[in-house]
């Protein structure tokens, strides 16, 4: 365990953000780094709980948090890495972008500030990379079985890496130019630099994972082909169909699904595409609809692109403002007001706002008409109702719809494979992560619907484990 009563001696310290004026000028990481010594001190706050809520209830990957915290405290970095790698394929990614449900579940969060678990995770991994301690884990024995992984988001990558390490021949099929999926094209660089993904892809290539990019399954390769040449298939295509806002004026130009906007920005930065003037926020008044993380990413990106003004509207009421260090809903993810680095950079946030319609000029959006809503209990259910005479409107040049996703994007392959779906337009799988088609597994958002990266990694690992069992039993 960490230091006995270390949490009484030391308070929580997290890395600070670079100054707003500085970070707004680039797309680089917004975080500063803490000293190694400080990280050890922070790890000493971990109590090695009898029931580690972080590990059991917080982290979907069940990261062995108390174990590596203890190693950090004792400065045994290589052991820390070993325990971390046991459950997490990409700790340098989760260490950057995970919302860290582990920290809200930390026992200290009952009445104190939690351990800086996410930053500890990141430090272990980055230190290991800098020391050259993260090397390919090349499987000695080869099974000779071929596995196709469809999609290279976090679930696909995790599945591919696990399967390759078990000695299978893994081919990852990706529709975009580079592997990474949402990690590469959905998350802005200031939160996750793309070099981080490249570094990991390189390791995976050394571990014999084959990446076939710009392959559109169902079009470029048929179901028949895949079934014939691969002993198993893992589908991790994400949950890419965006939820739309069906209101008058939706058809106007300048209204985009958030993910289109973000991926375009990312592609431009990695020089995959030229700048699309339609999809840049430069000099525009931008309205982001949706108060979640994607919305926040849009805010940060728009500001960096030089937006004139950024609004973010959320239909649900403003959550509890909470300034205490502990979690009022411990150990669960609390419904409290969160302010991200992007929000700090300039943004007008409103809650309980419903967008009723858009108006435009020259087929371009110029105005959003909104109304305030209230959450009321009706027949035992909570329902939204409009507040009378609370209408208002704002002038906008660009509207980004960050209202979540509704399931997988339809694809011929899935039809040809004849995979059963759930009501939520995700794949139906059994307890072994297998779809209704033998040998075809599914993982990630394609199964769970839109969720956290960390959960996708978990899904990918699970699918790989089950695919492996399936393959070895063949």
């Amino acid at each position: 365990m960490g230091k006995l009563k270390g949490f009484l001696e030391h308070s929580r310290v997290t890395p600070s953000y670079r100054p707003v004026h500085e970070r707004l000028n680039d797309f680089n990481d917004v975080c500063e780094k803490l000293s190694e010594k400080e990280i050890c001190t922070q790890a000493s706050r971990c109590m090695d709980c009898g029931i580690p809520f972080c590990h059991l209830m917080g982290c979907p990957l069940n990261n062995l948090i108390p174990e590596w915290n203890d190693y950090i405290y004792k400065e045994q970095w290589s052991d820390a890495l070993k325990r971390l790698e046991l459950t997490n394929n990409f700790p340098e990614i989760t260490g950057r972008i995970c919302p860290a449900p582990c920290e809200t579940a930390c026992t200290l969060a009952i009445n104190d500030s939690p351990v800086t678990i996410r930053n500890n995770e990141l430090t272990i991994t980055e230190m290991a990379f800098s020391r050259g301690a993260i090397t390919p884990k090349i499987s000695v024995t080869k099974t000779g079985k071929r596995v196709a992984v469809i999609g290279s988001g976090p679930a696909g990558l995790a599945a591919a890496q696990q399967l390759a390490r078990l000695g299978h021949t893994v081919v990852v099929l990706e529709k975009d130019k580079k592997p990474g999926g949402i990690l590469r094209y959905g998350i802005p660089n200031f939160k996750l630099g793309k070099w981080v993904i490249d570094r990991r892809i390189k390791q995976m290539e050394q571990e014999s994972v084959i990446f076939e990019t710009e392959v559109n399954v169902g079009i470029d390769v048929s179901a028949h082909y895949l079934k014939k040449y691969f002993a198993a298939i893992v589908i991790s295509c994400g949950s890419e169909a965006p939820r739309d806002l069906n209101v008058p004026g939706r058809e106007l130009n300048g209204i985009h699904p958030a993910m289109d906007y973000l991926s375009n920005a990312n592609m431009y930065l990695s020089a995959d595409t030229p700048l699309d003037t339609i999809l840049t926020a430069r000099n525009k008044k931008v309205l982001v609809i949706g108060g979640g993380d994607t919305g926040s990413d849009c805010v940060g990106t728009a500001n960096r692109q030089g937006a004139k003004k950024v609004y973010q509207f959320e239909i649900m009421p403003k959550p509890l403002e909470w300034n205490e260090p502990w979690n009022p809903q411990w150990p669960e993810w609390p419904n409290i007001l969160r302010t991200s680095s992007s929000h700090e950079e300039g943004c007008e946030r409103k809650w309980s706002v419903m967008t009723k319609s858009f108006a435009g000029k020259d087929n371009k959006v110029t105005r959003a008409d909104c109304i305030m809503v209230e959450l009321k209990r009706k027949n035992g259910k909570m329902e939204l109702s409009e507040k009378k005479t609370s209408e208002f409107n704002i002038n906008v040049d660009m509207v980004l719809l960050a209202m979540g996703f509704t399931g997988i994007k339809e694809n011929k392959l899935f039809k040809d494979l004849n995979l059963a779906m759930t009501d939520k337009k995700t794949f139906k799988i059994d307890q072994n992560f297998m779809t209704t088609e033998p040998g075809v597994f599914a993982a990630g958002d394609a199964v769970t619907g839109p969720s956290l990266v960390v959960r996708a990694i978990y899904q990918g690992r699970k699918a790989a484990e089950n695919a492996h069992n399936y393959l070895t039993k063949q």
């Binding site: 009563k5 949490f7 709980c49 009898g50 580690p52 174990e67 104190d112 499987s139 000695v140």
Partner: protein, 1520 residues
Amino acid sequence: MKTIIENNKMKIVKKQGLYEPQFEHDSCGVGFVANINGTPTHTIVEDGLNILKNLVHRGAVGGDQKTGDGAGMLIQIPHVFLKKISKDLGFKLPDFQNYGVGFLFMPQEKTARDKIVSIVEKNIKKEGAELLAWRNVPVQPGCLGEMALESMPFMNQIFITVKGLKKEELQRRLYIIRKCIEKEAATNGFSMQDFYIPSLSCSTITYKGMFDAPMLEEFYEDFADPDFKSAVAVVHQRYSTNTFPSWPLAQPFRHIAHNGEINTLRGNINKMCARETTLESPLYGNDIKKLFPIIEPGNSDSGSFDNAYELLVSSGRSLEHSTIMMIPEAFGPSYHISVDKKAFYEYHASMMEPWDGPAAMIFTDGFRVGALLDRNGLRPARYIITRHGKVVMGSEVGVLDIKPEDVLKKGRLAPGKMIMIDTLKKRILRDNEIKSSVSRRKPYRHWLNHNRIELKGLFQIPATENLSDTGSLLTIIQKSFGYTLEGVEKIILAMAVNAQEPISSMGDDEALAVLSERPQLLYRYFKQLFAQVTNPPIDPYRENLVMSLMSFIGRERNLLDETPLHCHQIKLTHPILTNDDLDKLRKCEIEGFAVSEVPILFKAHKTELKEALDDLCDLSEKQIDNGSSLIILTDRGVNENYAPIPALLATSAVHHHLIRAGKRHLAGIVVETGEARDVMHFATLIGYGASAVNPYLVFTTLADQKKKGKLPELTLETAIENYIIAIKKALLKIMSKMGISTIRSYKGAQLFESVGLSSSIIDKYFAGTPTRIEGIGIDEIEKETLMRHKLAYGETSIDKKILDSGGSYHMRKSSQNHLLTGESIVILHRAVRENNYALYKQYTDLINHQSQNLCTLRGLFHFKDSEPIPIDKVEPVESIVKRFVSSAMSYGSISPEAHRTMAIAMNRIGAQSNSGEGGEDENRFKKLANGDWEISKVKQIASGRFGVSSNYLANAEELQIKMAQGAKPGEGGQLPGHKVSELIASVRYSTPGVMLISPPPHHDIYSIEDLAQLIFDLKNANPEARISVKLVSEVGVGTVAAGVAKGKAEMVLISGHDGGTGASPLSSVKYAGIPWEIGLAETQQTLLLNKLRSNIRIQVDGQIKTGRDVVIGALLGAEEFGFGTMSLVSLGCVMMRKCHLDACPVGVATQDPELRKRFKGKPEHLINFMNFIARDVREIMAKLGFKTFNEMVGQSHKIETDKALAHYKAKGLDFSNILYQPELKEETSLHATSKPQHDFSNTLDFEIIKQAMPALEKKKKVEINMPIRNRNRTVGTMLSYEVSKRFGSKGLPDNTITCSFKGSAGQSFGAFLASGVTFQLEGDANDYVGKGLSGGRIILTPPKKATFRPQNNIITGNVNLFGATRGEMFIRGKAGERFCVRNSGANAVVEGVGDHACEYMTGGRVVILGNTGVNFAAGMSGGIAYVLDSDQLFDTRCNLEMVELTPLTDEKESKFLYDMISRHVKLTGSTYAAEILHDWEEMLPQFVKVLPIDYKKALERMKNFESKETELVTVTEEIY
């Protein structure tokens, strides 16, 4: 007049349900009386009868309130009387010692009896003897209880001669005849209960039976005859934990009478059995085979001892030689004993292991009679020698009325000492004389020096260079032996760093091994047995001077002979071998000592574990046949193709195979295994036969860890040594739990119970181990082993080279199931805070949903479909919650906030909270202004007796004697100094910052009759309160509970193994005790069989979490329920398991002021929880159709078990024993309907209180005079209750009530005596004088007429002033052992004391004007003793670990001492003390001051006002 009951077949209670007769315990009063000059008189017989009558209170009666547990008398053959009889019977009796008399317990039923008669006659004839006559012994069954009567045998005596034989020779022939008869009777299906021979001898005869002591003479008419004479009478009064009548098991046996318990019996019997093959004696020649089996099957511990003893004595060893061979005294480095004696003991250690356990043993051959105490001396044995040549020895003083002027000497046996009266030589032989002559009868010392093998370099600093050989394979090998990260870091590394086993807290809620999905090491299917009530555990830290890990390995020779070669064995100082040590053994080239090696591996790709075991056994036997003296079982060489046979299975299989082959004693077994690493592993390996263990993989692991920089502050050598030290300490602790002192007798003693192994495994490989619910067989063991092997070597696993987390101690997702999960805690917190029953139900679903989370046996239970009733017909919640208590948690282990909140909550709902050990702040006795009450209505009395005063006891509704605690049964505890805050110190009457020790045993409970005495004491201390006894579930707990019921407790608490703790060694949390389901069911069944159930209520606790748990408990027999862990969880506990570290982040289990602030629990939370449980219970009751709780109790047939469960291990379980219901008469109640009636007929306090009324009512001074005798027990305690009730802890002004007594006081004289009361006793006293003294004054003087010198004589017994908190005591004369144990504030003057005086003392001043025994001041952390050290050897008798000795230089202190002694002179009239004062200038420098080091520091701190928290010294070397 003879009454013969014909055709009444004896009813014997056989093994049924969970009741196992082998776990009956008994304990008792013993004594003897003898004429030194050997003249047989009828007076001696009468004296014997009188002794018995005066020991009645040490016995007990059964459920029929009449059947005694047994009593008897062994005397010389009353020749004159028999001669008279022979005339009536019409035969001629030969001269004394020329004929033998047999006493026979025959079947009542005629045809069976005829069969026996013919067997007897046939064998007598066959052995060339002549049967002179049969005699029907006249008896008076009218005095018997119903149960005794039903099983009463027909009594016969027979008379035998053998031509030309007399005395010893005749005796030997009679022995053969008896054995032949017994054997033939057994082959004809007669058990010992059907037919038994109490004695067949030419010198002694034993009369005994199932009655209370006074009825002996009433039952056997012979006693009345004036010609019924003897020079020697040995008597015994039995207190058995049960009353299944067993006539044969009454004592005395043929040679001995025993008060105590042989704990190592299983090992002793196995070893005796194996030795039979090499027994030879010229005295017997070929006849020796007729004596087998030496140990009669079905015998008790004492009976088996008698069997073995008889063999030794009859083969030519003297009585005294045989006795000390079997019960050797301690001869470790702390003892000053002669080198010859030491050599004698060591030589015999190579021949026979001690029969270990508490023992006051009386032995006789009719002409010599002696008594001996075992090394611990935990049984009282007091004697008086009269001027007229009589010696009276008894468990108490005052058992015979002897005029003071006739007393020549009053003494007591000290631990390990003996005394013997030789009526032929007409003298008394003292310990020194006996032992020096025995130990020099042969040149044992020379034999030992020349033949004992001492390997050079054994147990030296280990070499470490070859340790890291396995390199990259290490992890894989570790995995094949089931290593986990947690095991390496939390167990192995922790021991290497701290040299002691790790500590943990909270209970063990991990799934039982047999219910676990993951492969479990075989060790997890075993649970350690521990002593509770029937014998005391030993303190392995403070009293380890009596303990020893030394043993011999090699070939044992003929037990009946002694030659120099007998000790040609290797001496091991302890059983943990380093790789070097093993290497030396392997390579040793010693003549007559061959070493061979047998691998314990099996092919991993086949399933042939069973065959491999057979081969292993055969091979081992072959090696012995080829001359091996030492067999090394080794699992080195595990690889992809070979998996290790579980080391425990291999060891025990070989051990039992060799026992069956009669070859076990011919070779030692050493186990070289990669598997052993935890202390339990070593304990089981040794317990099942290994002499030594080499845990090579631990050492390699340590080397690897060192290489990785994990042991920065230690050298590898030190790490290894520390690890070994930790294991050694822990082994001592595990042994001590059973009260066993030497590893020699622990080896093979099998002191374990299995939970989850099938009897097919047990019978074949672990024969004699109890297993009650069946479980897995060899196939499953194999499967588990291969699963581990596959994890290590199998397939292309990615993380092959990384250890699993483990998760057995701290939960992990991938680990074992635990009953409480994060989710269930979170939901429950919400439920109790929001008072939301629906959330509570979610919580119970998580706990009860056992297909997801199978952890407990009850998880497999189901309620049978029943006719439901409407819920409003069911008893209301308000009355159900009254059956609930919050389990005992001490004031030191949890925060004051949590403790008070719990009390308020329980009081509000009319339930009870428990103070736990450690007193209670008196301010809490008064109600708060808002009507709340912080009082704990249950007050606990634990071994440390912290804060147990008259006032504490008077303010309670229940007084609970804690015999054991689920998390660490059989162990003590200690509160480290840094936790002893001002508040805690004040309620415990101790000094802040000074460590407090709770000893493993209650020093006033060494046996069941002692417990009955404490119950009686407490009943006197508060007649309104009910008395309860807390036990922990283990095999035999039912019989202990029966004993408790007979001791007249009103409630017995059965705790599960999984109960919580504030701090406990990890191995104890995991491996001691069993689930309450088994213990509770056993208790219910045994109490019913004994007809005791209706008198005593049963409470159960141990991870009780839901209404379902409560109902299952009720159906199995419980009426009340304790909630420990869940009470804490309701108040915010999150199972951090950090209580022992004072680091609880939610302020529940901490004394840290910062953390205490974080406590957020409210009484409402706990109230909500209790109400939820009751509501839940009520709903189930409605479903089951029970209107009232009482009608539900014991209805085990409402439970069925899940047969459909597909779990590969659990499917072998069989719960029929748990659900078994004994056949009962219809009216038998399954729950308590009445209370036990205490017998106050000998209580003097009623009269005293009457006379003291003016004092009690008006504080007027009164003086009272009264005679007293040993039957008058616990005098003054009820009076003190009256004082405390009226005046609180302040009591009355000094000397308000003065009582003067004359005579021999019974036990517990002046116990809990309150302030203002002065007791003067002229005469002598028994044990426990001034126990818990609470401010009163006791003055003890010898009779005025006595002529002996008081300072040389024992006038008061053992354990005086135990747990005294305040007051004074002056003793003119010497006191026995353990004077002032755990005294925390009384002052005393005494003229000499026995061993272990001032042990664990925490306060008070003790002046000792004479010699002390050994181990003075062990564990003494406070108070001061002044000892007159005239021989300047006191420092050698003092345990210097915690104290320092200084001269008295301070004038104030000298004056204090002078004043104390002056008062002593004034109050007792001691001339001896007056002389000391007279020569004060010369005497003062001879006084030594004994001052605890920490106490001194604390005193200095207080003096300097420097009590800053941070500067408190750490005194916790061993927190346990």
